[in-house]
Symmetry: C2
Subunit: 354 residues, 2 copies
DNA sequence: TTGTAAGCGTTATCAA
DNA sequence: TTGATAACGCTTACAA
């Protein structure tokens, strides 16, 4: 429990050299006689001298005296009180840890921010911060931070950004829908910026061949990540069109904001007697974890490269450290189209309305 | 991006007092004239002096010179590369953050250990470590750590332990099964220490009225946390007894290691034409997150107080800091019986075999 | 009640 | 190639 501090001075005394020489030998500076260096390193090893452990504070303090903010090679990821039902956090972290490992760096995580800067940030123990999930407001509270600051997926003013091209992903899906012959498509999603980006891409892709997602089939709802509200909405949609005397809705495809909603849509459609994709094509977005349904009926979706986003966030922190005064930077990655089995040509018996 | 270091000396010069007086005023030592103290604190505030931020290193270094290891009020939780499919981590963390907050402390998380001590530990930036999920082998690698070290749920040699009384929980369930009239019970679970503890409690509870979980109905398998292996096992079990010419298995209840397996068991039993609980009672263990199935058919289970475990782990770190030489300590919490609807009296038509 | 001096362990500078 | 010295910002001991 007790760590008997081993210092450079102790090593120096033992070998009858000056402490400064020990410092030089340990830091690998060239101006040390080779045999002396070896003796010093051997002795350091023998008595358990570890530069980081012995006196990190002294080293940092002295280095800062030089005017430069010394690196700690630790990056802090922030996930505020998030339930992370889709397991995004794990995949982002995998990417971050992987990249950090390759750049001789470590990632620590905070899940609770108390309005103020976290202690490890305040104390200059981390080089940069990555906001990866959770509340954006929190990010604003922490923002006047003296260190590089990267946000993943969501814009935070003043922070560099790593995100995925939602509009481009939507465009890809929209074009695919159009190519299959779909003209009238519905959309369900939360009323958020991200959802609107995906929606606008979808619309643009459909528009290229005269298709559309009309306003009356655009179902934007406040986002609650839980089955029930989405299920209710879907029930309402499918029921409404059945009550209007039709067995199938007046749109031939349903684009969902994410895979979670898409999967619920598939289930709901099946329950309401629609065949997927024969009667109704359904698309998702995210490429989340595999589920049981997905084994039998894989979604057509845009996979978001979460591991890559995490790795890129770490790279962006490093880049910002090298370019502290550079303009704010965005890194935009492309999602990848996954061809599942929920998208086909529209049913032939549906009259194309104008 | 640049933090213009404000020092006590700067404040001192500005007010024409000595730096030591500033130090005393800021630390709230009694021997400072009140009006002077106020002037100093006002100036410190004005120019943005924050003790932690300005020079944490210097303070720590000087304090360590006094022979005591100074506190950082930061605790490190370790979750190694765990997928955490049950959301345990979130609940443990909630409890830890809550308790930490109340004791003016912060929790940071590590999800990747590279064989060696994490940097923030090596650098004396945390007061203690809590192993909360994931690989135990990793814990052993990190173990010769100079700081307090608490493990949650799993024994780690040399570390203090916070756990739940698995045997007592099993006993409660066993007695409940016995009281309902069950004499022959089966068990499924992984081949782990935890599972054996729960199993032994179950057996003991059943034994009080002559019941048992015989060896041939004790299905211990290497633990893979994924649907398929468990589903296969269950299929095998239920199929075997059907192929032997019976429509219902020769046991009247199935105790599962955890709620995850219990829920799969319920599904599997239903698929094999058994009514739950009329033909087969099923019990779980954990009290994990609610699922869709659980809304319609809630499990009878033992809820593990995860938030409390997390909070207790933080308390244990603090306790250990106060009692560095005390013997290794275990804190054992009790699970709480949740009466669901998967447990009833055994079917009357089953002859009680001896 | 306030100030002076010493020292924590390191790195940078200059001299030998 | 090595050493002596100063400094980083702070806390403690002792003196005024």
């Amino acid at each position: 429990m007790k760590s008997p501090t081993v210092t450079q001075t102790m090593i120096a005394r033992k070998l009858g050299v000056s402490q400064v020489t020990v410092s030089r030998a340990i830091r690998g500076l060239p101006q040390v006689n080779n045999s002396l260096r070896n003796r010093i390193l051997a002795e350091a090893k023998r008595c358990g001298y570890v530069p980081d452990a012995t006196n990190f504070e002294a080293r940092m303090m002295r280095r800062r005296a030089n005017g430069v903010r010394p690196r700690t090679d630790v990056i802090c990821a922030i996930v505020v009180d998030e339930d992370d039902p889709f397991g995004f956090g794990g995949r982002l972290l995998r990417g971050m840890n992987e990249e950090a490992h390759q750049t001789n760096c470590e990632v620590v995580i905070l899940t609770h921010i108390n309005g103020a800067l976290p202690r490890i940030v305040l104390r200059h123990q981390v080089d940069g911060m990555i906001r990866m999930l959770g509340d954006l407001e929190m990010a604003r509270g922490v923002l006047p931070s003296p260190i590089p600051w990267v946000s993943i997926l969501y814009e935070v003013p003043g922070a560099d950004l790593v995100t995925v091209d939602n509009a481009a992903g939507g465009l890809t899906l929209g074009r695919l829908l159009a190519a299959k012959g779909h003209r009238r498509v519905a959309f369900i999603g939360p009323d958020t910026h991200l959802a609107r980006e995906r929606l606008s891409g979808l619309r643009q892709g459909l528009a290229e061949t005269g298709g559309d997602i009309p306003a009356e089939w655009t179902f934007l709802r406040p986002f609650v990540c839980n089955d029930d509200s989405t299920k209710d909405l879907l029930d309402e949609i499918f029921t409404r069109f059945r009550m209007a005397g039709r067995t199938i809705p007046p749109f031939t495809a349903l684009a969902a904001y994410n895979d979670f909603m898409a999967e619920l849509a598939v289930r709901s459609a099946l329950q309401h007697g629609l065949r997927v994709p024969e009667d109704l094509s359904i698309t998702g977005f995210d490429g989340a974890l595999p589920s049981r349904l997905r084994e039998t009926l894989p979604l057509t979706t845009i996979a978001v490269p979460l591991e890559e986003l995490g790795a890129e966030a770490v790279r962006l922190v490093h880049w910002r450290l090298e370019h502290p005064t550079a303009l704010r930077r965005k890194v935009v990655l492309d999602g990848q189209l996954i061809l599942g089995r929920t998208l086909s040509a529209p049913p032939p018996h549906l009259p194309e309305e104008t």
